[in-house]
């Protein structure tokens, strides 16, 4: 069973189309929701959580149609970690998490114990009695994760859990999320605009841009798309370039590395012929893998 299924989900804010007929299936496991700022990630998450309603379209959460029971289901089975700086004012970390526990049905003592457990887990041992107002962004992210975990939900939904963090802080949060998926069988759906986050944690990716899904599938397959043409290096590239143009190859020449990336199909034989004609040896010949960022930018700009 999928965690979330949507069908032509659309959300308009006046003239802004935040979600443009999004139809996706989000399977169990670790799924990343990748997209630049303003792509519509938060809007999507809030709609499927029933926080805001879509302009049109349908969605199913854990197989249930949206209906009156939604809040019940969400309270029991889903941990939601909203975007920073969402919090509750004038409370300490422990009070905040404990209260969230109580709202999901724990008696005071149970909620208290549980709050300590999850705060330990996210690494807020020493700060739990401090007012959350004085937390750093990293601590706030941990606190938000802790409150999402307080009732031990099966599905964790995080909205930009790594935003505003330095690399070390990001590693920490991703480590925790990965741990929850790998060792405790949780399903994770999290949004991010950082590609590295995805590579580190997920096997399934949904790419969103301007409210549209531009890729949906495994990370493996997305990596296939990284393979892009052939990278070649000649001893004297300036001699080869006119010949390549003449033969109608499409290519990019990198002025700094002096590498040529040929995007149409090319065999070693053909290149050897060119090299012989230009009287310059081939130094390198290999399939080219674009950096992930480059692929991402291209997919975004094409959409």
């Amino acid at each position: 069973m999928n965690i979330i299924e949507t069908e032509n989900l659309r959300k308009e804010y006046g003239t802004i189309v935040a979600l443009d007929n999004v139809s996706v299936e989000i399977p169990k496991g670790a799924v990343a929701f990748l997209g630049p700022n303003g792509a519509g990630k938060t809007t999507f998450i809030k709609i499927v959580l029933g926080i805001i309603s879509p302009t049109s379209g349908k969605y199913k959460f854990l197989g249930y149609e949206k209906e009156k029971t939604t809040l019940d289901i969400i309270r029991k089975q889903i941990g939601y970690m909203p975007e920073v700086p969402t919090t509750i004012s004038r409370v300490t970390g422990i009070q905040f998490v404990r209260h969230m526990g109580m709202l999901t049905g724990m008696p005071f003592e149970v909620a208290m114990q549980r709050a300590h457990e999850v705060l330990d887990y996210v690494g807020l041992e020493d700060e739990r009695y401090r007012n959350t107002k004085h937390y750093s962004t990293g601590m706030k992210q941990r606190l938000l994760l802790a409150q999402a975990l307080v009732h031990d939900p099966d599905v964790i939904i995080c909205d930009e859990p790594t935003s505003g963090l330095d690399p070390a802080g990001r590693e920490d949060i991703l480590f925790l999320l990965k741990d929850l998926v790998k060792n405790y069988g949780k399903s994770l759906f999290f949004s991010t605009h950082i590609l590295k986050d995805v590579e580190q944690t997920c096997d399934h990716v949904i790419l969103l841009n301007k409210g549209r899904v531009i890729y949906e599938g495994s990370l493996e397959k997305l990596k296939e798309k990284q393979k892009y043409g052939t990278q070649v290096r000649f001893y004297s590239p300036e001699k080869v370039i006119p010949l390549l143009k003449e033969k109608g190859y499409e290519f990019q020449f990198n002025e700094i590395t002096k590498d040529i990336v040929i995007t149409n199909h090319v065999t070693l034989e053909e290149l050897t012929a060119i090299a012989i004609k230009a009287k310059t040896p081939i130094l390198l010949f290999k399939p080219y893998e674009r950096p992930f960022d480059e692929l991402f930018m291209e997919m975004v700009s094409k959409s």
Partner: protein, 292 residues
């Protein structure tokens, strides 16, 4: 040699025994949320200084009241008169500082009730835990509790300092159902007018300090403009009744027959009561729609 890289051992995650969760009715949730908010309001760091300040003010005015009443109490004061005088002290600022103090209490304790949630986007968090209705009901209940606290802390102080001294036993009050019912009505009036105003201003801003100042200043301004300018010039009694403290005074007069004979304006007072409470509810409803 083994690498000496020191990796701090992490606490491992502990699954929760689901049997420890219990079904909760909406009523349970409202109570849980109300307790949480009350505690948050009373012990929040922002509230501490103003609470101490208003506590001092309370003390000073109580002393003032005592000195005033002790002059009166040279004469033999009977049971009802004691109550009339001492309780009427908190019906209007011009009669005593009581009404104003309840306003201060509400401004200090209640200003952040919704403004805080607006500021910290807490609506989003609550959205996945409690329904909008639960949220709204709990906020109303919290506001009632704050009025109750403000009102009865004052009455309690009066009892010990004024009434206790002059004689009537506590048991005597409790036996008088009529008196108690009236007190409950007074509580409702306070809650709807001053409480409604507090709900309104706390809901429309995301800065509790601004809310607090507005809760205190705007009713006084309405009171002042309504009574001293509009009512005096036009003679339209609604202007008088719209002053929130006058509203309370009118009901008070109706109940106990006070000195100002405002009882005749009861319909206007009920109108203004409903008006302020509706405004409060409307703003609260609007704020709770901010679940985005």
């Amino acid at each position: 040699m083994k690498p000496t890289l020191d990796i701090t051992p992490r606490n491992s995650y502990r699954p929760l025994e689901k049997s420890r969760l219990k079904e909760q009715s909406e009523f349970d949730l409202i109570i849980t949320q109300t307790k949480f908010d009350l505690k948050r309001m009373l012990e929040g760091s922002w509230a501490k200084a103003p609470i101490i300040f208003s506590g001092l003010l309370w003390y000073v005015t109580t002393l003032f009241t005592v000195s005033r009443l002790s002059i009166q109490s040279i004469l033999p004061i009977d049971y009802w008169n004691t109550f009339k005088d001492s309780l009427s002290l908190f019906t209007a600022p011009r009669e005593g500082a009581g009404g104003l103090l309840i306003g201060i209490g509400l401004a200090v304790i209640g200003s952040g009730l919704i403004a805080d949630d607006n500021a910290s986007k807490a609506h989003t968090i609550y959205a996945t835990k409690i329904s909008k209705r639960t949220y709204i009901l709990s906020k109303i209940l919290t506001m009632l509790a704050i009025v109750f606290i403000s009102l009865f802390l004052w009455a309690f102080l009066l009892y010990f300092i004024v009434i206790y001294k002059t004689g009537p036993p506590l048991s005597g009050i409790i036996e008088h159902w009529y008196f108690l019912t009236n007190l409950v009505i007074l509580f409702v009036v306070y809650s709807m007018t001053i409480g409604g105003i507090a709900l309104f201003f706390s809901s429309i801003t995301d800065r509790s300090l601004v809310a607090g100042v507005l809760i205190l200043v705007i009713p006084l301004l309405i009171q002042f403009i309504g009574t001293l300018i509009l009512y005096d010039v036009t003679g339209i009694s609604l202007f008088l009744a719209l002053g929130p403290y006058n509203t309370v005074l009118i009901v008070w007069d109706k109940l106990w027959g006070g000195t100002y004979k405002y009882a005749q304006y009861m319909p206007e007072a009920v109108f203004s009561m409903i008006l302020y409470f509706s405004l409060g509810l409307w703003a609260l409803f609007k704020a709770s729609n901010d679940r985005k």
